[in-house]
């Protein structure tokens, strides 16, 4: 079976290996993601580059990340990082939502890297993956 990434066309244009296959693997993992209060918001499961094409990065590795979805290993990880970022970018909630949703990733969803120390990890989605209806909002964040 040939698998392909959802944003293959864009990833293929990059000069670096994207995603780097030594770091990204298929996973089965419970996880948390920031979403808008409306779980059906169109931007809830879109990579930042797709939401706003102006977003850019100075190096290829960073540019590659623009096509990923961000997740956290625990609820506390997701909430802590949210507060940290909202204290540095006041409009952050407008662009990333104000709620945390919980769900599970499967091997068929894509390739993910290992969580960093603060629990953050990224997922390069495979083609035709959809998260609609698979995540449930469990917390609204109040700053």
């Amino acid at each position: 079976v040939t698998i392909s990434f959802k944003y293959k066309e864009e990833l293929d244009k990059l000069d670096c290996e994207c995603p780097p296959l030594t770091k990204y693997k298929t996973v089965i993992r419970d996880c948390f993601r920031w979403v808008y209060e409306d779980i059906n918001h169109t931007n809830n499961f879109l990579p930042v580059k797709i939401i706003n094409s102006n977003r850019t990065s100075p190096d290829c590795e960073g540019y590659c990340s623009l096509y990923t979805l961000s997740f956290f290993k625990t609820l506390a990880n997701a909430e802590d990082r949210y507060r940290s970022l909202a204290g540095k970018y006041a409009k952050f909630p407008e662009r990333y939502g104000n709620s945390i949703a919980q769900g599970r990733l499967f091997e068929r969803d894509g390739l993910a890297n290992d969580p960093s120390e603060n629990g953050h990890f990224e997922l390069h989605e495979f083609e035709n993956v959809s998260f609609n209806g698979r995540f449930t909002i469990i917390k609204k964040i109040k700053l």
């Binding site: 909202a86 409009k91 700053l143």
Partner: protein, 421 residues
């Protein structure tokens, strides 16, 4: 979905008035949200994302200072302190549209929309960026002496001028980060200016010292002490002043250096009454102005670090005053009433000297006898003056009226010239 950005009012300009080279990201999440740049003239700028529309990204570009960056990276200040303290009080708001159009608007620091200022304090997170090592090495943050708020010589070189810096801080609400109560700021600046002015007069308003063989008028002398506001820094509250007129004397010494080094040598004396007595060059007016400056520090319970850098000689001076130190010095100045020193030249010979005690006895050709001390500038040369050898000496004499003590005359040898040579 957001399609419109908030309206801002400012001055539109076609391009940024400086060129920037990227150093590294202070915050990367999905993409760079806060990035450090360095300009071709070596200033540090931050580009901080403020808002995103559907087809536009707005960021603030502002000048910052490496000490503040270090404090942020060291976890000492939250990011909001960095964002709200542009070094020159300006933001360049850059709107970049997806069609490639870029709009740049200059706004004053106070005019940054409150919606763009984070409402919670957030300190650095080590996962914010992988560029911290690059930022630290490129900006030499690891070489910053945290006991010094900045390097005054570097500042003077950048300003291409001698600089005087008054750096204020306080534990009360008189001084905050980048803020200072205006009346205290005004009092401090005026009192320091007055100290510079009377020092200039005491140095230059003497028949002996000519500039280009032409004596300066009092008005011209006072002009030598005038400085103009150059810029301020948000590091507690720091103000930089640069001289507007400088004259160079026959020894190649600038008037600013002369005035400021004299002030700093007065600062060096601290509350040492005996040391103060050895310096007749400080007139009653200078001591009075010094006392007034210290009173501003003491009354407002602030700390003032004073710096001066001579950009040509690459020399700098530093001293610091807080409430308790100022009060001690004020007390010493108040207890002792000096009259202004009278400087006269005499011919004669030393009848006795002591290198250890730094004292002398001089007998003039008219038989007049003076006993006193050598000026600090001569103390390492006393052994060179043989007794009973003809000399022409400048002796400064002043009346000292200590509280509750009998008035006495102080004699200090200021200069010694060998008549035979």
């Amino acid at each position: 979905v957001i399609s419109q950005l908030r309206k801002i009012q400012g001055i539109n300009i076609p391009n940024l008035p400086f060129q920037l080279e990227r150093v590294g990201d202070l915050l990367f999440f999905d993409w760079p949200l806060i990035t450090i740049y360095i300009s071709t003239d070596n200033f540090i700028y931050i580009k901080s994302i403020l808002e995103e529309g559907d087809d536009v990204i707005r960021c603030a570009i502002f000048k910052t200072d490496k000490h503040l960056i270090k404090s942020y990276i060291d976890g000492e200040v939250p990011y909001v302190e960095v964002l709200t303290n542009p070094q020159d009080g300006l933001y360049f708001i850059e709107d970049v549209y997806s069609d490639g159009t870029t709009l740049i608007t200059i706004i004053a620091g106070y005019a940054l929309d409150k919606e763009y200022i984070p409402q919670i304090q957030s300190f650095v997170d080590k996962d914010d960026s992988r560029d911290f090592p690059t930022i630290i090495s490129t900006l030499h943050l690891d070489q910053i002496d945290t006991s010094e708020a900045f390097n005054i010589l570097e500042e003077a070189q950048r300003a291409k001028s001698d600089l005087i810096n008054l750096h204020f801080s306080s534990a009360n609400n008189v001084v905050g980060y980048g803020k200072m109560q205006s009346q205290v700021f005004g009092e401090a600046l005026i009192s320091y200016h007055k100290l510079s002015e009377v020092t200039a007069v005491s140095i230059y308003n003497k028949p002996k010292i000519d500039i280009d063989e032409e004596k300066l008028t009092i008005k011209e002398i006072k002009r030598l002490a005038v400085s103009e506001y150059s810029y301020s820094k948000a590091a507690s509250f720091s103000v930089f002043l640069k001289p507007i007129k400088v004259v160079i004397d026959n020894d190649g010494e600038s008037s600013t250096e002369k005035i400021q080094s004299s002030i700093f040598s007065l600062f060096e004396i601290g509350d040492d009454f005996n040391e103060l007595k050895k310096h007749p060059e400080f007139s009653v007016d200078v001591l009075g102005a010094y006392s007034s400056f210290l009173k501003v520090v003491s009354d407002n319970d602030i700390k003032v670090d004073v710096r001066y850098a001579n950009v040509v000689e690459r020399r700098s001076y530093f001293n610091s005053f807080n409430k308790s130190k100022s009060e001690k010095i004020i007390k010493v100045l108040a207890e002792t009433k000096f009259t202004d020193a009278v400087l006269k030249t005499y011919e004669g010979a030393f009848a006795g000297t002591s290198s250890r005690k730094k004292i002398f006895e001089f007998v003039t050709t008219n038989g007049e006898v003076f006993e006193g001390k050598f000026a600090a500038s001569l103390t390492d040369q006393i052994y060179k003056y043989p007794l009973n050898h003809p000399y022409r000496v400048d002796i400064s004499t002043r009346q000292e009226e200590s509280t509750g003590k009998k008035s006495i005359k102080q004699h200090i040898v200021i200069s010694v010239k060998d008549i035979e040579n």
